[in-house]
């Protein structure tokens, strides 16, 4: 229990740090970004939007930094991230809530799938080390070094241009309206296959390699030898004794590298013009839509924190030592 409380406190502090970071970054920048934005949008920004920009960048002379900070927090609790320029006058929170489900489904499913498949493959490779299976390692190694977005480019050129069996971009067929009809869901799944495959293939290699190395290390432990000597079936030794212990660092690694993976998958969305958070971020960057960028960063960070927490608790369930030592 003590372990869980410590972790929860840690996540609260991290969330606070992320929000505060988000508050300070625009304030630490040189120059007057608001003026350049007003010039860029020439009259298309309302006075309200300009005012909210000055507040965002802390250039509002009238209020102190502390007042700004308090106002920022109260805004957050009301779900108010400001107003997006790209989708003016839609509030940032609305833009995000439209794109978030896409990302959660695509990235969530494919990341977890990549982890599970990679870990299973790693168990097999680690167990059968010194055989032909080791020949797969250089391949996995090469794939782990490929940037996600480049694999996406290759996937598009192979399966959408040269052999046109999948759509090259978008999240659903143009004419459809997002709802829960069979047509729409089918189209969404069809459009999701290629990006999901890209994410699975580029993330799987890292899990294979780390799990394989842990399997090799763990399987020379005495308790594995003992299990073997007791005459337990190979399957049982492999999964119940070796893999069960070898998977622990992989799970904590999963939690810690989530931030990295999510970063990579966001770029995959940009390549596929998939209507999720990553693509929205891409649009926000290209039109210098600061409120939207900030809102997205915050949402991504908070989602990663939640996912991290889940992975942490899974770890606590799998490893009794964490529960005891606290």
């Amino acid at each position: 229990m003590k372990f869980l409380i410590r972790r929860v406190i840690f996540y609260v502090i991290t969330a606070w740090a992320a929000v505060t970071l988000n508050f300070f970054i625009p304030r630490l920048l040189p120059g007057d970004p608001v003026q350049s934005l007003i010039n860029k949008y020439q009259g298309r920004l309302s006075t309200d939007a300009i005012q909210s920009l000055y507040v965002l960048f802390g250039l509002d002379e009238k209020s102190s930094l502390w007042d700004d900070y308090v106002k920022y927090w109260t805004g957050l609790f009301k779900g108010d991230f400001g107003i997006s320029f790209t989708y003016f006058p839609t509030p940032v929170s609305e833009v995000i809530s439209q794109s978030l489900p896409w990302t959660l489904l695509l990235v969530g499913i494919s990341t977890v799938l990549g982890f599970i498949l990679g870990t299973l493959a790693g168990v097999g490779l680690g167990w059968r080390r010194g055989t032909w299976a080791d020949g797969l390692l250089p391949v996995a190694n090469f794939f782990s070094a490929i940037p996600y977005f480049w694999l996406g480019l290759i996937a598009i050129s192979l399966f959408a241009v040269i052999i046109p069996i999948f759509p090259a971009s978008g999240g659903y067929e143009g004419g459809l309206i997002p709802d829960f009809s069979a047509d729409f869901i089918g189209s969404a799944i069809y459009h999701g296959i290629l990006p999901a495959l890209t994410i699975v293939i580029s993330s799987i290699a890292g899990w294979i390699l780390s799990m394989r190395n842990m399997m090799v290390t763990v399987s020379s432990e005495d308790y594995v030898t003992v299990a073997q000597a007791k005459g337990l079936s190979e399957r049982k030794v492999m999964f119940g004794y070796a893999a069960r212990n070898a998977v622990l660092p992989s799970i904590s690694g999963f939690a810690l590298s989530l931030g990295f993976i999510v970063g990579g998958t966001l770029v995959t969305e940009m390549v596929f013009s998939y209507p999720g958070i990553g693509f929205t971020l891409f649009q926000a960057i290209s039109s210098k839509d600061y409120p939207l960028m900030q809102g997205i960063f915050l949402i991504i960070t908070l989602s990663v924190l939640v996912a991290n927490m889940v992975a942490d608790f899974a770890y606590a369930v799998l490893d009794p030592r964490t529960r005891q030592e606290g």
Partner: protein, 334 residues
Amino acid sequence: MSVQLDPVAADPTSTATLTAVAVRSKRGRRVQFGILRNRKAMVGIVVLAIFILLAIIGPWIAPYNPDTVTPEGLQPPSPAHWLGTTATGQDILSQLLVGTRGVMLVGLTAGIVATLISVIVGVVSGFIGGIGDEILSLVSNVFLVIPALPLIIIITGLLPGAGGLTVAFVIAITGWAWGARVMRAQTLSLRKRDFVEAARANGEPLWRIVFFEIMPNLTAIIASGFIGTVIFAILSEVTLAFIGVTSISDWNWGTVLFWAQSSQALVQGAWWWFVPAGLCIAAVGTSLTLINFGIDEFVNPRLRSTAANAGVLRRKKIRARIGFTPVYRGKDIR
């Protein structure tokens, strides 16, 4: 870059592995320069050396000016243009050659800065303990959990026209946490070792204990942390350039891909435009990972004895498949 290590000193684990090292050293010189005898690491070092060489001489050996626009647009590879041309007739090989320097420079700078931060934070936090340690590890854990790439995108997106070195520093500031965490764990385990206690009892000053007793034992971890950060930095930089956050007038491999993507190279089937740049990234990344595996296998004898000698084992008809560390049945060496 050769990393020379004393395996006994570099080994983080306790007595069990020390015996394994003792067994190894009976085979004589193999232990010395083991990293260079590791085939994986050697391949990695050679490939990396080629790219570092290209980074130095690239701009001079580039056959064309990468910015020069010619009428020969979208030419497939030919003797005149080995990797073909872009839609505006620029030579892609020249773009890649000129861009290598930017990629390497940012990767190495970010790697060095991040490693420095992580060594300082990790060693200090592992060594002082107490509340200072709590605070420092909290800070590094926070940095670890916050997704780095979106943060880098936000910062560089807000900085107008961020060039190479700015990007390197932003990457370093967001990418040091993993190394610090590993370094702290290792320092913690070293701090209580006998040789450190002995040094303290001898009255060695603190700086000497840190630099001459602790640091040499962190060499392998520092090296692998450095390499990991360089991989992260190169991938981040290329990604930033690809999505167009950083200055698109500086050539690097990501810029090439940015132009390929924005000029619809995919739809036009201009594979020569986006395939080579990606292969370069993958080659550098693979070479760095291979070096890291070399270090890993060097530090962890279990990986080494099983992975490196797979062929030897097969010839001796030892089945490595079952869990044990393979041992000779005949001679008593344990």
